[in-house]
């Protein structure tokens, strides 16, 4: 069974100038543990594809199956329930909760999925990204690289079956970005989870099992 199976995926939005097709009849599938990089120019629909595959948004047309659940048939709460504990995210702008400490940010997905011993597991995960001494720091007290490491720890703490990463090194310098990439790919490899990686970085894309290119809402 594929981890992700999408067919005829279409996303249309209504603008002042009329209807705009952002994603046009896209078919894509990921097998368990497979890493797929989505590349393409800005505005080609990469992030929209990622959002639909992760159930963050609903498609105008088409079918998406994520981890055996028919996302297109679920409402937003249903899709959230599918994500809880099974899906990890790493974003370009880190997206940590500013009021929570590094440890609390990592605990969050465990709590939402109702997984026990959240504090211990989160502490362990933070230690694995080299931030054992920064548990009680707020995001604002961490550097960009450290914040992204917290985000990586948060993404992997539930042992997800699939990880979605949207330009994970976009806000980082090359050295820091490289460190994050090593960390992310290392953890993915040890867990064997699938990866959907949206990136402009060809070097990064090359580390995935497969690269798909998008242009004007279509997969080339």
């Amino acid at each position: 069974m594929n981890t992700i199976q999408a067919s005829g995926l279409t996303k249309r939005v209504v603008t002042a100038e009329g209807e705009l097709v952002i994603l046009d009849e896209v078919d894509i599938a990921l097998s368990a543990g497979e890493a797929v990089a989505v590349v393409g120019p800005s505005g080609s629909g990469k992030s929209t594809l990622l959002a639909l595959l992760a159930g963050l948004d609903s498609a105008s047309d088409g079918q998406i199956e994520l981890l055996g659940s028919q996302l297109h048939a679920l409402d937003e709460d249903g899709r959230a329930a599918v994500r809880a504990g099974q899906v990890g995210f790493v974003f370009q702008s880190f997206q940590l909760l500013p009021g929570l400490t590094a440890l609390e940010n990592v605990m969050l997905p465990l709590e939402l999925a109702g997984i026990g011993q959240a504090r211990d597991r989160a502490a362990e995960q933070l230690a694995s990204v080299g931030l054992a001494s920064r548990q009680k720091h707020l995001p604002s007290q961490l550097s960009g690289g450290e914040q992204q490491r917290v985000a990586v720890a948060r993404a992997f703490v539930t042992n997800p079956k699939v990880l979605f990463a949207d330009e994970p090194t976009g806000n980082l310098d090359q050295n820091t970005g490289d460190t994050i990439v090593e960390l992310m790919f290392g953890m993915r490899a040890s867990l064997g989870c699938a990866l959907v990686l949206v990136t402009h970085d060809q070097r990064l894309a090359a580390r995935c099992d497969r690269v798909v290119t998008m242009a004007e809402g279509r997969l080339l």
């Binding site: 994500r83 940590l96 009021g99 999925a113």
Partner: protein
């Protein structure tokens, strides 16, 4: 998000102005209603009085100014009945339109049921004080000789709106028609009379007339209005204005806080734009100009919309309150509208100008480094600017800079204390370990200042409402409950020395024996030691009035059981010295100490003596008591009348009629009626203030919403991230609910507890009564806190619950 930031600012300003104007309009109406009621104490809005007849010029000018006028002429005279008995009376000749404000109450029978009437007696008829009926044994239909006239007594006067004065001193009233005066022969040249022209009308017309009279410069003409006419009315109105002003001021402060919160969001939002404009070469002045123009436009729209909302809101609220007022509330003046617009402009100037100026001066490098911390103006500058705005607003509101300053100081103290308590509660809550409330506690811990502001803003109104509710119910009830069942219900005053034995015997017939009749001597305190009264000043107005007026002295040899000597010694039974015993609170207020030499003027004699002791008096016992008691040797040689208080069960009024018929000069005062009137006035005053504080509670809710709206960006971000990580809408709603329930609990707990402590202070310390903690009201306060904050917070965060996780991908949060 961009649009809603401006929308939130505009909305906050609209809400702030609406709060101010609705409070302003309503307070204005209540104040005008109270002023109209207070005017009934003059029976007019103003009075022109003169020792001579009021000239036609003065009358015509009043009429030209659209004012209603009527005459009142007062003078002493003597009347005779058919048997030839005579009595000194205080004649009041009134015009047909008397009274112009309030109503005269008459009864056909002595102490019978009374009814209100407008207009004086018809020609040939007189209405008299029941005391005069006793003196001259007249009943309705009897004739009296009044000067050259034979007049018919048709009614007894139960209540005369502008009587005022001192019931102990006045000769009985006889009211006649002013049209009878010329033919009565009562007033000739050189007669002692006081001519009054009662005036009523719109305040603008009154002001015009007052201006004209002032220019006329006739020293014999005195204009008295409600505020300057009578010290007691003046003092009551001033207190009303202070209370309502304070309530409005709290609303202004809270509205200002709401405006400041919203304005800060705009300022921070503008920081990036201004950095960009300056990067392109714009000067900081031109950037500030752009920001100011935009804000001014928002202020203008918001102040107009807010004023309109405030204006409409007060109609509904006034309608709700109509039953609380005996008279219909008058229409508001447009003055609060000016206040609303000024408030919007001042709020922008005072509460957000420093933030705006700072945003326009943002470092240009922000175009490259958006992660740079937001530049905020100095806290002192923000506070100073807000305080200045408050002072201007309050001075405008109260028309008194000293009062404005005092109110600002008072508000700083109250809000400061509430803020500190809130901050302490938030700190305590932040440390609490409750797994089920973890996210709610995080919300509080993360935004301690915002949460403290929400708690203190909401608590101000709630605290005031609870305290007034306690005063209206518990305190008044406690007071009435603790009055003994057999406390005196009648005061008998003006008993002449030769009537003492007969009065005692009458009382004995009614089962009242051994009741003391206390001698009462009127005197004026002239000096304490070498210091003459009026020199050196008094710390408060009441002390000055008490020391300068004539008051009642008494004398007795032995100490009374119900008075306790707290300092010094009661005089020996064989004393031959002039000594005084002074009530301790009075002594403190007027500045009298043990051993001081007091100098009184009694009639045309001076009486001096030493203060040998200070007494504690239980005024609430309703027994006759005196501020100053002397030794018999000091006071017994002077003219005195006697007074006593008794408890007599007299539902049919037989006792009163017996006293009046046997002792025509004795005045009987019904304590029950007096108490009813006092508690009625207190209750209505408390309700009026409570109502205005209700607006403050609404203003507190507005601040709460503004604070929540100000944190909405953060909340949107949190919601989007949580949704991405798998949180359901129910989870988000539960987190938000628990957070606001917790904040509401803290606010309710604080308001209820502080109100209970203040009530304890009022009851135990001020009123010296026994305080009973009201658990129902305490719990009720907490529940109101929870309900208010939960509902306001939930409404304000509803859009957050609908937040799509897509915002995380789009980086739109």
């Amino acid at each position: 998000m961009r649009v809603s930031e401006y929308l939130i600012l505009t909305l906050a300003l609209v809400l702030a102005v609406a709060a101010v104007t609705s409070v302003g309009f309503f307070a204005n109406r209540v104040e005008r209603a109270m002023q109209a009621q207070a005017a009934t104490l003059l029976a007019a809005d103003a009075i022109v009085s003169s020792p001579q007849q009021i000239t036609a010029e003065v009358r015509d000018t009043a009429l030209q100014n659209s004012l209603s006028i009527t005459d009142v002429i007062e003078f002493p005279s003597v009347v005779l009945n058919d048997d030839g008995d005579t009595a000194l009376v205080s004649v009041k000749a009134v015009g047909d339109a008397y009274p112009l404000r309030g109503e005269l109450r008459l009864s056909r029978q002595l102490y019978g049921v009374d009814r209100g009437v407008i207009g004086g007696p018809p020609a040939g008829e007189v209405w008299i004080d029941p005391r005069l009926a006793g003196v001259l044994s007249v009943t309705p239909g009897d004739e009296l000789a009044l000067g050259d006239l034979q007049v018919v007594v048709n009614e007894f006067i139960a209540f005369e709106p502008d009587r005022g004065g001192d019931v102990f001193q006045m000769a009985p009233r006889l009211m006649m028609s002013a049209s009878d005066l010329p033919v009565s022969g009562l007033l000739g040249e050189g007669s002692r009379a006081r001519y009054k022209m009662l005036i009523a009308g719109e305040s603008r017309d009154l002001d015009n007339f007052a201006g004209w009279l002032d220019q006329l410069g006739d020293a014999s003409l005195q204009l008295q209005n409600v505020e300057q006419g009578r010290p007691r009315v003046q003092s009551a109105l001033l207190n009303v204005r202070r209370f309502l002003g304070l309530a409005a001021a709290v609303a202004v402060l809270l509205s200002g806080a709401a405006v400041a919160l919203a304005a800060r969001q705009i300022a921070e939002r503008d920081m990036d734009t201004s950095a960009l404009l300056r990067a392109f070469g714009a000067s900081s002045q031109s950037v500030i100009r752009i920001v100011l123009i935009r804000l001014a436009a928002i202020a203008l729209v918001a102040s107009l919309v807010g004023s309109a909302v405030g204006f409409l809101a007060q109609f509904g609220l006034s309608a709700l309150l109509a039953q609380w007022f005996a008279a219909e509330l008058p229409a508001p003046s447009m003055l609060p509208l000016v206040g609303g617009i000024s408030c919007a402009l001042l709020a922008l100037g005072g509460f957000c100008l420093p933030a705006i100026a700072k945003s326009a001066d943002a470092p240009v490098v922000r175009v490259l480094r958006r992660d740079l911390p937001v530049a905020r103006p100095s806290t002192w500058l923000v506070i100073g600017s807000a305080l200045m705005a408050m002072l201007v607003l309050l001075t405008w509101l109260t028309r008194d800079i000293k009062l404005g300053l005092a109110l600002v100081a008072g508000l700083i103290t109250v809000v400061g204390v509430l803020w500190l308590v809130s901050r302490a509660l938030v700190a305590l809550a932040g440390r609490a370990q409750a797994p089920r409330l973890r996210r709610a506690l995080e919300g509080i811990r993360r935004r301690p200042n915002s949460v403290s502001l929400q708690i203190s803003a909401f608590s101000v109104g709630l605290l005031a409402l609870l305290l007034l509710a306690i005063v209206r119910t518990d305190v008044l009830n406690t007071w009435q409950r603790q009055i003994p069942d057999n406390a005196p219900n009648y005061f008998l005053v003006n008993i002449q020395p030769e009537e003492v034995e007969q009065v005692q015997s009458l009382l004995a017939q009614r089962g009242v024996e051994g009741e003391s009749l206390h001698p009462m001597v009127r005197g004026r305190l002239e000096a304490i030691n070498d210091r003459r009264i009026g020199e050196g000043g008094y710390s408060d107005e009441r002390a000055r009035r008490m020391s300068e007026r004539d008051f009642n002295l008494s004398y007795h040899l032995l100490p009374r059981d119900d008075n306790t000597v707290v300092d010094g010694q009661w005089w020996p039974a064989d004393t031959t010295e002039n000594q005084f015993s002074v009530e301790q609170d009075f002594a403190e207020e007027v500045g009298i100490n043990l051993g001081d030499e007091l100098h009184f003027r009694i009639a045309d004699k001076q009486v001096s003596g030493t203060v040998s002791n200070l007494r504690e008096v239980q005024w609430e016992s309703f027994a006759v008591n005196f501020f100053v008691v002397g030794t018999p040797v000091a006071l017994s040689g002077h003219p005195a009348s006697f007074v006593t208080s008794v408890f007599i069960d007299d539902p049919d009024g037989v006792f009163v009629r017996d006293v009046v018929s046997q002792f025509p000069g004795v005045t009987v005062l019904d304590v029950g009626t007096m108490l009813e009137r006092i508690t009625g006035i207190l209750d209505r005053a408390a309700l009026a203030v409570q109502y205005v504080f209700g607006f403050t509670l609404v203003a507190g809710i507005l601040v709460l919403i503004a604070a929540v709206l100000a944190s909405r960006r953060e909340r949107f971000q949190e919601a989007a991230i949580l949704r991405t990580l798998g949180a359901s809408r129910r989870y988000l709603a539960g987190s938000v609910s628990r957070e606001f329930i917790l904040i509401g609990t803290l606010a309710g707990l604080m308001a209820s507890s502080i109100a209970a402590v203040l009530a304890w202070v009022i009851v135990e310390r001020v009123m010296s009564l026994q305080y009973e903690f009201n658990l129902t009201l305490w719990i009720g306060g907490i529940l109101v806190g929870i309900a208010g904050i939960w509902s306001a917070g939930t409404v304000a965060t509803l859009p957050v619950l609908r937040q799509s996780p897509m915002a995380v991908i789009r980086n739109q949060v």
